[in-house]
Amino acid sequence: MEKETEHKPGKKYGMVIDLDKCTGCGSCMAACMAENNVPCKDDESNKLTSITWIRVYRLTNKKPFPETEICYLPKPCMHCGGVGDQGHSPCVSVCPATATDYDHGTGIVSQIYTRCFGCRYCMAACPYHARFFNWWDPIWPADLKKSLSPNVSPRMRGVVEKCSFCFHRYQLAMEKAYVEGRRDLEEVEYQTACTQACPSGAITFGDLNNPDHAVATMKDDPNAFRLLERLQTNPKVYYISSREWVRRAGDNYLKNEPTNSKPRVTAHHG
């Protein structure tokens, strides 16, 4: 595999979320649940046990009324590549079961439920709280089983799950491409469910390595930043905000430290 990626740079799927556009409506969350067979419990108000692969957070500038400002921040899995996109993601590097791995061909961090034995080391390692544990078996009451999609397998009790960038949509798009004798996808052929549902058009998804894809240029926006960038997790989810306090909220800064809109450490491999 390493040999292959050397002579042909792989795709690197990623997301740019424009926080100036996000209204906090929650469509992305519901679209994700419906797309990925995420089950619902009777009480979902305990957010520690509520499974939402993408969750919209509310940030405030903590100023008193009426100077208060809010920013809504949708947060999926960051699909960290680690330094130089070597695949040294926080979760992948700690999984004792190889239940999660880094795909050098797409840059997507997988989660294989049947392989996972539920130690939750990855959850502890993930700095983004992007991983969720199934404390109970999923229940689809009444006839709700009929609404399950065959493209994503339902998870059992005792395993960890997370956003997959709707990888099954990539698989399906590739199938169509293969039948048509292609190996490459158009930008529109592979889009995540949240991107598709967002009424604001706040989410843009595509190949960060492909200059024809919108994300490739958007990620270089002067107002673009990533969460906890200085941990060198190298996330593939970029955010754009015109507000400095929002960009500063993306990392832990000392009081007088200037906001870095670009990572301090850049790739030194590959």
């Binding site: 997507i108 997988s110 294989i112 397998s153 099954h168 399906l172 590739m174 048509e180």
Partner: protein, 218 residues
């Protein structure tokens, strides 16, 4: 599997210091051999029979007859959908195109027409190659892109005149064909098994690596 029975016996306890008081060496060896032989027989002969339950298909199907009648080989009936996904076993609608009424003299066809076509009921085929839900397998990638033959994985089923007995693993619920007919897991042909190791082996040979997990999992 280099240890022979002979060598195994050589491992039996030897030179017991209290011969006179306890059982003789001979008895001990005998018991060992009995235990060994019985478990060997159980493990190799009885266990495989116990592990699988035999199930019959709803009715028999002659692939060979059908292959002679169609011009696009397997894909005449086992089709790719327009979106590139693979449809698997033909649906009732596909079959009833020809089998609206009984065509020949086969008893199985009679069952099909009277019980399924007449009642508009899909045939509950038992799928020999059915994989767990966590598996994503792209027929398009293998058949269309890699230009593999159906039989590379499925064997000569296209030339068979009748369906073999479906042997269901009592523990897993999947067909014996996934593990392979050989209980020891020895493969002679590429289609002798359909486990992840089988996929991995071929992928390592052809692609240089087993590939990322998500390639085949969902």
């Amino acid at each position: 599997m280099s240890t022979s029975n002979h060598e195994a016996i050589g491992l039996a306890p030897d030179g017991n210091p209290k011969k006179s008081e306890g059982s003789s060496n001979g008895v001990i060896v005998l018991f060992f051999i009995v235990g060994f032989a019985v478990s060997m027989a159980f493990g190799w002969l009885v266990f495989p029979k116990l592990l699988y339950s035999e199930k019959n298909q709803p009715f028999d199907f002659n692939h060979k007859t059908h292959m002679d009648l169609v011009d696009n080989g397997c894909e005449s009936c086992h089709v790719f959908r327009e979106d590139g996904t693979y449809a698997g076993t033909p649906t009732l609608a596909q079959c009833s195109d020809c089998h609206q009424d009984v065509q020949g003299e086969s008893k199985d066809e009679e069952i099909f027409v009277n019980e399924y076509v007449a009642n508009n009921k899909e045939v509950p085929w038992l799928i020999y190659s059915r994989q767990p839900d966590c598996v994503f397998f792209s027929h398009a990638a293998h058949v269309k892109m890699a230009e593999m033959e159906c039989k590379d994985c499925h064997g000569d089923i296209g030339e068979s005149e009748s369906l073999k007995v479906y042997r269901e693993n009592r523990i897993t619920g999947y067909s014996q064909d996934i593990w392979g007919e050989n209980i020891a897991g020895i493969r002679k042909n590429t289609w002798d098994g359909m486990k992840m190791t089988d996929c991995g082996k071929c992928h390592e040979e052809k692609m240089g690596s087993k590939g990322p997990c998500f390639q085949c999992h969902k």
